[in-house]
């Protein structure tokens, strides 16, 4: 048999590869959307990036606590010990600020939150042996938070986390909170808007964006529109769920109600307060505000 030239084989293989590529490319584009993604990270990591996103999100919290942070073992032990406390480390940010709370209850609960946070972070138990006792000398054992001028240190991790998992809503809200604290309102707004583009149904981001306009930029009309939209989104997303995110709804409703009350739309405010009462842990507080509004609306004898 006459030997075939290697060059000819190479050329034939090249032709086959090219033909297959043209044939398979349109199909490959439909395989999970990975290949056609415009995000390089998504192309490389696929859905696995969400795992990293979670890690970086937690890393931001670790930096906030200056390295004092429970390991997965500490967290598991804490969860086992106290089912009453949330074992999710991510929830720690809520201890710093829960967007769904009223201003009044926030003031009242601030101390409770801090003590609860302290309790949650007291994960180190008494050393059981000399190895653990001596090992503590090489472990960060003091619970501290970053000073105000260093708070921006957590931002890169949140940015990276959002980059890896754009569907993780709390990354945007938490980052916006810290950006606002550091006076970076434009960046907070941009980041929240980016979050909204990636999560158009997110009532959490709409709510936070509304707060930014209301509290920081004093653009009441934009805030009203955003919170109204947030409430509508909440209704469409949470309706029919057995476990609804009531605290978020309460936050939106209370803020919107307060805004309406300030604008003189008392009836609308009362109906919103009533809506919030269904979810509030302090309904009496809201009832008092409704009563107050009613005094203003009811005709004088």
């Amino acid at each position: 048999m006459k030997a075939v030239s290697p060059k000819l084989i190479l050329f034939a293989l090249g032709t086959v590869c090219f033909a297959l590529a043209t044939l398979l490319q349109p199909r490959a584009a439909q395989w999970g959307g990975r290949a056609q993604s415009d995000n390089l990270v998504k192309v490389f990591l696929g859905e696995g990036r969400r795992l990293f996103a979670n890690h970086f999100y937690t890393q931001a919290d670790v930096v906030l606590h200056s390295g004092y942070y429970p390991s997965i073992f500490d967290q598991a032990r804490r969860n086992m010990k106290s089912s009453a406390l949330s074992g999710d480390s991510d929830a720690d940010h809520d201890a710093h600020e829960s967007p769904g709370e009223t201003q009044a209850s926030k003031e009242n609960d601030k101390h409770d939150h801090e003590s609860e946070h302290e309790k949650k972070m007291a994960f180190l138990q008494e050393p059981k042996d000399w190895i653990e006792r001596f090992g503590r000398k090489f472990l960060i054992t003091e619970h501290t938070h970053l000073s105000q001028d260093k708070e921006s240190e957590i931002l890169p991790w949140l940015r990276v986390s959002a980059e890896l998992d754009p569907q993780r809503v709390e990354t945007y809200t938490v980052a916006a909170y810290w950006l606002k604290r550091n006076g970076k309102l434009t960046e907070a707004e941009q980041f929240l808007r980016e979050g909204l583009r990636n999560n158009p149904d997110s009532y959490e981001i709409l709510f936070d964006l509304g707060r930014l306009y209301s509290e920081n930029k004093h653009e009441i009309d934009r805030a009203r529109n955003l919170w109204t939209l947030a409430l509508a989104r909440w209704n469409s997303r949470e309706a029919g769920k057995t476990e609804q995110d009531l605290s978020a709804m309460e936050g939106i409703a209370v803020h919107l109600a307060t805004l309406e009350a300030d604008a003189g739309n008392h009836d609308r405010a009362i109906s919103l307060f009533k809506l919030a009462m269904k979810a509030s842990p302090h309904p009496e507080e809201l009832q008092a505000r409704i009563d107050e509004l009613r005094k203003h609306t009811s005709p004088q004898p």
């Binding site: 930096v63 200056s66 390295g67 073992f73 059981k128 090489f138 921006s152 980052a175 550091n182 970076k184």
Partner: protein
């Protein structure tokens, strides 16, 4: 001692001539500088993120250098048959083990100095402060950890025939200890017997190298334990180094080397 130092010098020269160290250093520097150039929300002087990444890269690089350099020492001597002219000189097998250990440990130390110098410069460029003492402590402790690791890998290289299996096992062991070493005894409490006893025994047997892992302190500007504690921990590390080296020597001296 001449032989020990001569063999150690040879190992250092090998690291100097091979490309591994340079590749890892350039990669570390490149990635750090690249990530350092990214702006996050126009925030200025963000240092911790950069320090964290730089230290992570340094740790990974140092482990790779330590494990791969050490794991190939004795197998390469056998494979290339250079062990024969070496042992035909007035050199004992114990001296070969000691020389190889010293060389690998010194080589790791030199590599660490270069890496941490880069870290210090990067860190100071952001923070405008020189954290020299904490960095020195961290380098010292890091070096001690690498000492334990080098001794462990050297022991592995006389036990396992293939360097690749030795490398893999040592990586798993060291990363395992760094990750769960300090939790083992508490995990043991939740396990049924005999797993509980086994985990407790492992806990007391393994070298607790997690003590030497201090990048969190550097990243978060926390005070590292005083020098006395660092030296106590170093003594603990030296005891494990000695244990691994003696075990390696006991195994190596009985091995028949056939030309």
């Amino acid at each position: 001692m001449n032989s020990v130092f001569a063999i150690a010098g040879l190992v250092v020269k090998e690291l100097q001539r091979r490309k591994d160290f340079y590749v890892l250093f350039v990669l570390t520097a490149l990635l750090t500088v690249l990530l350092g150039s990214v702006s996050f929300f126009n925030a200025e002087n963000i240092a911790r993120y950069l320090k964290d990444i730089c230290l992570l890269l340094i740790w990974v690089s140092s482990l790779v250098i330590a494990v791969t350099t050490t794991a190939r020492q004795l197998p390469a001597e056998r494979e290339n048959r250079t062990i024969f002219p070496l042992l035909a000189k007035p050199v004992t097998r114990g001296q070969v083990i000691a020389g190889k250990f010293l060389g690998c440990w010194l080589a790791c130390g030199i590599a660490l100095l270069v890496f941490y110098l880069f870290f210090t410069v990067i860190s100071a460029s952001r923070e405008h402060v020189w954290h020299l003492v904490p960095t020195l402590k961290a380098v010292w402790m890091h070096w001690m950890l690498l000492g334990v690791l080098v001794a462990m890998v050297l022991f592995g290289s006389v036990v396992f025939t293939a360097p690749s299996s030795n490398t893999t096992i040592c990586f798993i062991v060291i990363v395992g200890i760094l990750g769960i070493g300090r939790h083992l005894h508490r995990v043991a409490l939740d396990q049924p017997e005999p797993v509980s006893t086994m985990l407790s025994v492992i806990y007391f047997l393994i070298p607790h190298v997690e003590w030497f892992y201090l990048p969190d302190f550097l990243v978060n500007d926390q005070n590292i334990a005083p020098w006395t504690d660092c030296l106590m921990a170093s003594l603990y590390g030296v005891a494990y180094m000695a244990a691994f080296l003696i075990a390696a020597w006991m195994r190596f001296r009985r091995q028949m080397l056939s030309v």
